[in-house]
């Protein structure tokens, strides 16, 4: 550091610092005033509810009447709650299948719309359309399309002569699960496609060019160039898909009401049932804390995963 001769007389310096400090103090309060509405909302409608959830989870808390402190009993109860474990199991299975299905569709779609050519903007827009309608709307639409008599799929297969009788898709587990997975892929693939597309387009064209000149085949370039360079984007798309699927509710509630044989109760659905159908609010809160913990762990894993992508691009 070289010391520079100050053009300001030394005697003036303390006074100047003083005014600056005073000004910073006022701007400090101003800044807090600007963020106050946001902080207030987050405090009342997010932080307070999270604390209250923890508090409630330690109580036997019926809808009416007094609540009673029972310590960790709600938590020991959920460990041996067969229906909860089944809900966890089902949610994990659903998450796995749906994530694979979304990627299997979205990755080829991203490659399909990657290059600038005629109609490509149109294709992107159409593929993206289902993303902007609600999951509840989409579930309702597909519940109708899958109906045995008044729907589209069954009667259409029958018209083509592929089946003798229109199948009742939503009545058996396997077919209902299939319909829901296809519906979710239809609804979400456009979103994942766009995320993957940003990753694809971030790969410098020269790299691909260089690999091509070196004689790398298309698949080789995809495997050894595109995929490694997209690690970060893929991780992000994966996380979004996984967290979204773990919180699935609308499609099961609207399309199958958790049926057939209550085998389609997801974790959120089970919490909903415990809290707002059976009114075991304390137990519902304990289940919520478990769900919350699972998602926080995944979010932290996400940050780690994205960091890894940063270190080794």
């Amino acid at each position: 550091m070289t010391s520079v001769v100050s053009p300001i007389p030394l005697a003036a310096a303390p006074a100047r610092r003083n005014t600056r400090r005073r000004r910073r103090a006022t701007t400090g309060w101003r800044g807090l005033a600007y963020i106050a509405p946001a902080m207030l909302l987050v405090l009342i409608f997010f932080i307070l509810p999270v604390c209250l959830t923890v508090w409630m989870s330690l109580h036997n808390w019926p809808l009416m009447g007094v609540h009673k402190w029972i310590g960790l009993k709600n938590y020991t109860r959920l460990l041996s709650d067969a229906r909860f474990l089944q809900a966890l199991n089902f949610t994990a299975f659903y998450t796995l299948v749906v994530t694979i299905a979304i990627f299997a569709v979205a990755f080829p779609l991203a490659l399909f719309v990657e290059k600038q050519r005629r109609f490509v903007g149109f294709y992107r827009t159409i593929i993206f359309l289902p993303v902007v309608v609600g999951l509840a709307t989409a579930s309702l639409l597909w519940a109708w399309l899958s109906h045995v008599e008044s729907g589209f799929f069954g009667p259409f297969l029958k018209m083509l002569g592929l089946v003798e009788r229109s199948p009742n898709f939503l009545a058996t587990f396997d077919t209902a699960f299939l319909v829901i997975v296809v519906m979710v892929v239809w609804k979400i693939a456009g979103f994942t496609m766009i995320i993957l597309l940003t990753g694809l387009q971030a790969i410098p064209a020269e790299l691909d060019e260089a690999a091509r000149i070196d004689g790398a085949r298309r698949f080789q370039r995809f495997r050894h160039l595109t995929l490694p360079l997209m690690r970060r984007t893929i991780a992000l798309a994966l996380i979004v898909s996984i967290t979204g699927s773990i919180l699935a509710f609308d499609q099961f509630y609207i399309m199958t009401s958790g049926g057939p044989q209550n085998r389609m109760i997801s974790v959120v659905y089970y919490i909903f049932n415990q809290s707002f159908v059976s009114f075991n609010l304390g137990y519902g809160a304990a289940l919520s804390i478990v769900l919350l913990a699972i998602l926080v762990v995944i979010s932290i894993g996400q940050l780690k995963l994205l960091k890894i992508g940063e270190d080794r691009p």
């Binding site: 701007t27 600007y34 963020i35 902080m39 997010f46 902007v132 709307t137 008044s150 809290s275 769900l291």
Partner: protein, 307 residues
Amino acid sequence: MTITETMTHRPVRPADRSAEKAAAKLRRAARARTGAIAYHTAGAAIVLFFIAPFVIAGLSSFRNATEGQTAPLPPWPRAGFSVDSYRTLDTFGAGIWQHTVNSALVSLSTVVLTVVVSLLAGYGFSRYRFPFKNTLFVLIIATLMIPFQSILTPLFIILAKLGLNNSLFGLTLVYVTLQLPFSVFMMRNAFDAVPKEIEEAARIDGARDLRLLVRVLLPLVLPGAATVAIFAFLNAWNEFLAALVLLSSNEHYTLPVLMMAVRAGRLGAINWGAVQAGVVVMTVPCLFVFLLLQRYYMRGLMAGAVK
């Protein structure tokens, strides 16, 4: 299939060069044409898959009452255009108009409040220094980690304590809060991108704080605000679970909650015409807003993806 990429490097004798060249050009053109045909055939199939459900529902909803109960083969009205399905939909709950107004009211209030609150917060975080600034910012963003599905019961209790249970305004406040992490992040970045010199010049001209924000800075961060607004609208319009839990009286239901009554049917019979009409009413505003403001929507998506 998508790209014609393999250029063959073959040694050519100078005498044949021009003829060779012309032939190669023709071959390349032919290959490009078959490539394009294959590409757009696949494109057409993809478009069909993604748009068919909307088209089938849209056309079917205008069939008459008897047709409405039959399979949509073909989906268009054969016995003439009819609004029977919409009339039937109107007999559920407090009437389709009332529920559409509820949904619109909640969505538009969510948009206005989200934009105002995140505009102020984004400005504060971008331009001012205050204690715990980074902690508070991280706190707002960190709420993204916690699923709102896990805090519905306390939300219900807190809203009741505030006298906002079963109220559209209470639901709006919850939706605004859910939008905040993304919106505050967006708006802070928008303000960060505005050069400080503009602000200083305006300050010298005598503009202060709120006036400075509204008159000078707002036009500059308007694209960011548009992004925040479109996400707030779509999320509020489409949200189902919180509305289902927090609204308890019929006349306050938003469209997705109303549709559960339609889905359940009457006396065990579901009126599928009303379902189709309901799907159309819920879908059209989303598609309209998206197609109109696509640019801003995609910007928001990219911002989220890059983050």
